[in-house]
């Protein structure tokens, strides 16, 4: 692990240097919303932007991805598969979203590995950034995530006032840091205390201190509990929680054609949609909304852990902030522990 500093004035030059070799995907502001997008100039990067609406997992797992396309004509068939994985830097990823990549690795790299995901993961350098402020809905620490630790990143930046602390956590990260003159070495006294104090201040901003305890085991007894039906009464059955969740990964495959040409697409799907488990026969094992809602929370809080050994939620707070009817996973966790 290499530890260096990056002064705030040198951040833009560093980003510009990266852009000479890589496609840079970074948080940008549009009005009062943040989106992760490829940027054309370093000035577009909003390094201290508030939590994005759509999580950066979208870079590795786009909402719509072409799997292949075909064209027919005069007895020929051309078929072109497509794996798009340009050398890229995904910049400004928060610790909660960094953890989400581990959760999704467990799904997508499980044999047989998803080559679309694998190729992008392989070709993308991750630069994480510690949070400077926490939203009231955040609760990453409940899952052992620290808002100031860059576990999973190649390079992690933490704002320590006058400069950024830059930790190169992988050989790829080290190579970049050691070859970029913007980084300098300086003994900063009491780094551990500084980070500790920052973490403490951030967690104090969480409105609810969530305790996970042994949720998966508790849930095993609650499948038929009327709680899910009561909770579903206000649920709209939209896809907001799913589409803003950093660990959600369900997808649908759809074929489109335009006469002699066509393509196959993979696109996000939401388990709350009515047709999610609709069979061709017309039978739907989850025809009622409460069955679908229950499935979602069982997946987040139990099945992911059972199947992959890693918790399905990262405490980013997006679903809590954006659910139009205040279905709150923190509240559900507390209720499950009580029931």
């Amino acid at each position: 692990m290499v530890l260096k500093l990056l002064s705030k004035e040198r951040l833009l030059p560093f980003i510009e240097r990266l852009m000479q070799k890589f496609l840079l995907v970074a948080p940008v502001r549009e009005g009062n919303l943040t989106f992760y997008q490829p940027v054309k100039t370093a000035a577009e990067v909003a390094v201290d932007a508030p939590r994005s609406v759509v999580p950066p997992k979208e870079w590795f797992f786009p909402q719509t991805e072409e799997i292949y396309r075909y064209a027919t004509g005069s007895g020929n068939l051309s078929l072109a598969g497509k794996v798009t994985a340009p050398p890229a830097v995904l910049f400004g990823v928060r610790p909660c979203d960094l953890r989400s990549f581990d959760v999704l690795d467990a799904v997508f790299l499980h044999e047989p590995a998803d080559r679309y995901w694998a190729a992008r993961r392989e070709n993308t350098l991750l630069i994480g950034v510690s949070c400077n402020t926490a939203c009231p809905e955040c609760f990453c620490t409940a899952y052992g995530i620290s808002p100031v630790k860059g576990t999973g990143a190649d390079i992690h930046l933490t704002d320590i006032g006058t400069a950024y602390l830059a930790e190169a956590l992988t050989p790829e990260g080290e190579e970049i840091v050691l070859s970029s003159p913007e980084f300098y070495e300086e003994k900063v006294a009491g780094i551990e205390e500084v980070l500790g104090a920052k973490e403490k201040a951030l967690t104090e901003e969480f409105a609810v201190q969530v305790e996970i305890g042994d949720i998966p085991a508790k849930m095993a007894r609650l499948f038929d509990h009327p709680y899910w039906e009561e909770l579903s009464r206000r649920c709209l059955g939209c896809g907001i929680c799913t589409y803003v969740c950093p660990t959600c990964h369900c997808f649908d495959i759809t074929d489109e054609n335009r006469g002699n040409a066509g393509w196959r697409l993979r696109c996000w799907d939401a388990c709350l949609f009515r047709d999610y488990t609709l069979h061709t026969s017309g039978h739907n094992p989850r025809h009622a909304l409460h069955q679908r809602l229950r499935n979602r929370f069982f997946h987040k809080l139990k099945y992911n852990q059972d199947r992959y050994g890693i918790e399905g939620c990262v405490g980013c707070g997006r679903c809590v902030a954006l659910c139009p009817v205040n279905i709150d996973i923190r509240e559900i966790i507390a209720t499950i522990r009580r029931l």
């Binding site: 549009e30 009062n32 919303l33 719509t64 009231p136 409105a207 059955g237 907001i240 009817v325």
Partner: protein
């Protein structure tokens, strides 16, 4: 507002003990300055009912899920027309519904409130002072001028005392509309743009659409049992649907234009669609524009309970030669 809440709880308890099977109202939310829909079936649950300027949700759509039961629902002035819409289109039996109307002093725009007062508010009480709200929190209070902090739909509201209800909670309140507010200002600005810039404006917003369908799910006018965009077909037939599950700008445009068109003449202006959108698409600009055009072209009268597009007049304006 404390008296309103107490009155509301008393009435809810009375209704539940007089044959109403489900009382739909508002309860406290788990986030600062928020409320949420609350469903009470037992007497002890009415103690959780509240009414305050964070009760923004339109509860009427939930009636569709309980059309076979005797239900009471809290309605603000902007929620009330949705009941007529659903009854006229024969989704609901008015006889099974008890409407609990609450004269409303306006709903606060949550984002603006948080921006002004910080994200960690703990409100103890709210007082409606007519042209302002006073929020009381531990250590002080804060008065917010309604003109600056109400939701946009409230600034143009002329119907904050719901009529034709079965129970009224509290006394009539003064109008909250700001006479200087022009709900068509932004619409006119868009109309004044050249077509290419207008397209760019909408492409920016429709390009963000996640197709979460929250706008459709929350809208009381979107009551079709099978939506045009929800044709459940096997994967190989996906090309036969109007839009695919894939997110693309043309498909997003198609969805929004047609949803607005299906709702045209039937939209009740509750603005829930715009509130719930996670990426901030200004849907009410389209809905308000179409509502105004519908009235200008075809008049106010509800010739057909299903809205202006299900009716015609031989005297309709004809611009088509």
């Amino acid at each position: 507002m404390k008296e309103i809440t107490e009155f509301l709880r008393r009435e809810a308890a009375r209704l539940l003990s007089e044959g109403v099977e489900l009382f739909i109202g508002y309860g406290a939310g788990t986030r600062p300055v928020s409320a949420r829909p609350l469903f009470a079936t037992k007497l002890e649950e009415v103690a959780e009912l509240v009414f305050n300027p964070f009760c923004v949700h339109n509860l009427v759509k939930y009636l569709l899920r309980h059309a076979d039961r005797k239900v009471a629902v809290v309605v603000k002035g902007c929620d009330r027309p949705a009941v007529d819409r659903l009854v006229a289109e024969r989704h609901l039996d008015r006889g099974r519904i008890t409407l609990v109307g609450i004269p409303c002093g306006g709903m606060l725009a949550r984002e603006r409130l948080l921006a002004e007062l910080g994200p960690r508010l703990h409100i103890e009480a709210v007082e409606d002072r007519g042209s302002s709200f006073t929020l009381r929190f531990p250590g002080g209070e804060h008065t917010l001028e309604k003109k600056k902090y109400l939701m946009e739909k409230c600034l143009g509201c002329t119907r904050n005392n719901p009529a034709g209800v079965d129970v009224v909670i509290g006394k009539e309140v003064l109008p909250v509309a700001d006479p200087e507010h022009d709900p068509f200002k932004e619409i006119r600005e868009i109309e004044a743009l050249p077509a290419l810039e207008r397209a760019a404006f909408w492409e920016k917003f429709f390009g963000r659409c996640l197709r979460c369908y929250a706008c459709r799910e929350v809208c009381p006018a979107c009551s079709c049992t099978e939506c045009a965009f929800e044709q459940a077909v096997p994967g190989w037939q996906q090309g036969a649907t109007w839009v695919s599950k894939a997110k693309s700008l043309p498909d997003n445009y198609h969805y929004h234009l047609i949803r607005a068109f299906h709702v045209a003449g039937r939209c009740t202006g509750c603005a829930e669609c715009e509130r719930v959108c996670p990426v901030g698409i200004p849907l009410m600009l389209i809905n308000r524009k179409l509502a105004a055009e519908t009235t200008a072209l075809f008049g106010e009268a509800m010739d057909d309970p299903c809205g202006a597009l299900c009716a015609y007049s031989v005297a309709d304006p004809d611009e088509f030669e």
